[in-house]
Each structure stands twice: as C-alpha cells, then as structure tokens.
C-alpha cells in the first residue's frame, strides 16, 4: 500500500512523518511529497496542517493542481483521506483566522475562534483532553471512549451537518474534534502526538 503525507510547506510535519513511519514500519510505503502524480496514484492521503487556516489554504493553492487532485481523490473517488488539525479545518467552506478565507468546501461549515467566555478559558486549547465518541468510526476502532488526545488550537470546525461528527471534546463548549464521512476523516487533535492511543488511531487509518 502507498500512503502519501502531503507536504505543502504547511509548517512542521516532522512529528506526523515520525509517527506514521513508526506505525507503518515496513508494511506500508510512505511518501512525503507534493508531487501531483504521486498523490494521484497512491492509496491513502494524510493532510497535515499547522499555522493559520489562511496560510495553510494559501500554501495548498500555491501548488498548481493540488486542490483539484485532492478533491478528485477524496470526494469524487471517495478514497481515504485523513486531515489533521488545520488539515481537518480546511474541509470547511470558510475560515475566520487572520482574515475571512475560503476553505476546500468538502464538508459544509465554518471555522471560528473558540469562545473563551471572556477569558475564562485560556487559548490556545493546549494539552490532553478526553474525546467523546459520537458514532461508530473506522478510525476509532478499539479506541476507548474518553481516551486522552493531545490538542493545540484556538479555532474550531463547526459543520452544518452534525451527522459527520464522530467525536467531540469539552473545552468551554462541546468542540468538534473528529469528523467522518465515507472515507473522509479529520481529527482536530494530533494523533501523532497522542502517545500510544494516538498511534492506534493512525494504525486504524492505515489498516482501512
């Protein structure tokens, strides 16, 4: 199997590479690239994302043909794609970090700043929080409800269709922390930094 981690200069993806390499061992051929042809021919895609919504979308758009290729892969052909952190947020129609920015529009909804209730909650939401699994999910197979995952973000994805939500976490309000629709997956938390349980999520995705 060939799995591609999309390298579109979205910030630090070393940890994503390290943990996927750890789980993939020799069974899976892992490629870190932005080469359109390689992405087209692979079996699964990982879309990481660090920094702001705006900078990530701009970086994706700056690579000619990348957005169309990803869309064809994940939406038209319904092949497995996992978005992590801003990688997930970009599924939305629109994001409000830095400036109003159009997203990929794969899952209708918006990305707005977490309501910190007038400073009652510190932002970014950094650290380990429990996930509450909302529906049966392929990437949460054998993952216990209320498992701890590592988060670091100030913005949250609010999808219109609540049925896509596969997990939430509680921080000032119920924050969407995982979505799943067909073979499209996204986690707001960082499975690559979430210790053994995070590696299990990665393993589930790689075993799909």
């Amino acid at each position: 199997m060939n799995v591609t981690i999309v390298d579109y200069q979205s910030g630090n993806i070393s940890s994503v590479i390290n943990s996927f390499t750890e789980v993939a061992k020799d069974k899976i051929n892992l490629e870190v690239t932005s080469d359109i042809n390689k992405i087209k021919s692979c079996d699964k895609i990982v879309l990481p994302g660090q920094g702001s919504f705006k900078s990530c979308v701009e970086s994706l758009n700056s690579i000619s043909g990348l957005v169309d290729t990803l869309k064809e892969f994940a939406i038209t052909n319904k092949k497995p794609l996992l978005g992590i952190c801003v990688g997930l947020q970009m599924f939305a129609d629109i994001g409000y970090e830095e400036a109003e920015t159009q997203g990929l529009g794969w899952i209708s909804g918006k990305v707005s700043k977490i309501d910190n209730q007038k400073g009652k909650f510190k932002l970014p939401h950094i650290g380990w929080n429990e996930i509450e699994i909302q529906k049966e999910s392929k990437i949460f197979k054998d993952i216990k409800n209320k498992s701890h995952m590592y988060f670091v973000h100030s913005y949250e994805f609010i999808p219109e269709d609540k049925s896509v939500i596969s997990a939430i976490t509680n921080y000032s309000s119920k924050i969407v922390c995982a979505v799943e629709r067909d073979n499209l997956f996204g986690t707001q938390f960082h499975p690559e930094k979430s210790d053994k349980v995070g590696l299990n999520v990665i393993d589930n995705f790689l075993k799909l």
Binding site: G11, N12, S14, S15, N18, S19, T21, E22, Q50, G51, S52, N116, G119, K122, L123, P124, H125, I126, G127, W128, N129, E130, H148, Y150, F151, V152, H153, S154, N170, Y171, E192, K193, S194, D195, K196, G198, L199
Partner: protein, 252 residues
C-alpha cells in the same frame, strides 16, 4: 475536560544529561534519548529539553538528540536554550521538536517572537520568562540564568509576548529555582491572571504538594519539574496519582 500537564525537564549539556534520572534500569544515565523515553513511557504529558551547552561548537548535538528522541517519543517535545534565530527554530522543528522555547532572544527583541509565531504558528512558540522578585508584588525579568537584570517588569513582559503571538509562557522563578521550597505562587497567580494564554510553572518544586499549589493556587495549566523526578525520588505516576487524589484532573 482539559487535563493539567506534568512536564519533566531534562538539562542537556554537550549532548549529555546533567542531573538526570538515576534509575537502576538505565543503561546509560547520561543519554537524553533514553531518559526521554522512560519519561514518555511512564506517562509524561510532554518532554522538555533545556540545552545548557555553553559553546557554539556543540550546539549541533542537541539537534541530533531531538532527531533521535522524536523517533521514539510520541508526546510533544519542547526544546529550549540558545534559540536565537529563525534558522535555530527551523532546525529544531525539522529535527522533530514540536515547540521551541525562546528566552534571551525574546527579551532582547520581542519582534522575534512575533516573527517566529507568524512563521511557525503560535502553537510552537513558547516564551520562557525568568523572573525575580524585586519588591512586594513586583517581579523583574532576568536573563542568562538569573545573572543579568533587565529592568523589565515581568507582568508587562508576559502581556507583551502574548500580544506578539507566544502560544505559552514558561515561567521560572529565579528566587525559587533549585530551592525545592515550592513555586512562587504569587508570581504565578499574578501572571496567570494578567494573561489569556497557558502558563507553565517552573522553579522550586520539591514535593508533590508543590505541583498541586502551582496548579490550584497559582493557576498554572502545566507544571514543569526537573529534580523531583531525578534520582527516582518520585515517578511521574506518583505525581499524577497524588494530584488525582486531590481532585486535580490529570491524564492517567
């Protein structure tokens, strides 16, 4: 609910751990990679390396250590000490660090914090503030391990680095550091109340109760400790079980 983090810190000099854990199971007590792995296996919520290498020639060694550690530890890794340029940050992040901690360079030029957070995202920029009490409810920022006085008010500086995009503040009390007499709770309380970003408490931990004080009385989001975890005095698990028994939520 967000859990309070416990972060063991390892001081690394010329590629070797100084004041490290002295467990019997350790093959090489000076190997930072091995020590980091022990911490992460025993439930550390993050790992912090502080590079105290004095000479520039040996600075490459920390990059190599980060690279090796990142392949074995799958919890966040913060690296501080001598982070002065965008290139320093790039090198550490590419090696596998998740966050870098900036100290002197932030004091010298707060625009560096802005530039770094703009380029890499606030999530990976920690500003380390070393503060010393100068009078009642007044603290000043010091650099170079507490030797250099800057004349900058710690509270004002904390607000300023937040404005400039710091994702977290690692706050060390220079009065308490190394004393094992507990965190400077007043300092913590003052800074946590004047900022909206998470504060990591550091300096002075001698008992598990001090960790409790840092979180509950000081309002810290995370507690960093070095010496109590060294020499096997307490294990990470002991700290977590203690806090849990006192109704402080931790990741068990």
């Amino acid at each position: 609910m967000l859990k309070n983090r416990i972060i063991p810190c390892l001081d690394v000099k010329d590629g070797r751990v100084v004041k490290g854990i002295n467990f019997v199971e350790l093959k090489d007590a000076g190997d930072p990679v091995e020590q980091a792995k022990i911490y992460s296996d025993s439930g550390a919520d993050e790992i912090c390396f502080l590079d105290i290498t004095a000479s520039n020639e040996n600075r490459e060694t920390i990059i190599d250590i980060v690279r090796k550690t990142a392949k074995e530890c799958f919890v966040p890794l913060t690296v501080g000490g001598g982070v002065r340029t965008i290139q320093n940050i790039t090198d550490l992040l590419l090696a596998g660090a998740d966050k870098v901690s900036i100290n002197t360079a932030a004091v010298k030029n707060v625009d560096f914090v802005k530039e770094a957070s703009k380029k890499f995202g606030s999530q990976c920029i920690v500003v380390a503030i070393d503060a010393k009490k100068v009078s009642d409810n007044k603290w000043e920022v010091f650099t170079h391990g507490g030797r250099n006085k800057t004349g900058i008010d710690a509270v004002e500086f904390a607000k300023k680095v937040e404005e400039n995009g710091a994702g977290e503040i690692l706050l060390t009390s220079m009065d308490k550091d190394g004393t094992k007499s507990g965190y400077d709770v007043d300092l913590l309380k003052t800074i946590t109340n004047s900022t909206n970003i998470p504060i990591i408490a550091s300096g002075g931990v001698g008992t598990l109760e001090h960790l409790y004080d840092g979180i509950v009385k000081g309002g810290a989001s995370a507690v960093l400790a070095a010496s109590i975890f060294h020499y096997g005095e307490y294990k990470i698990k002991d700290a977590k079980e203690y806090l849990n028994s006192k109704n402080v939520s931790v990741r068990l």
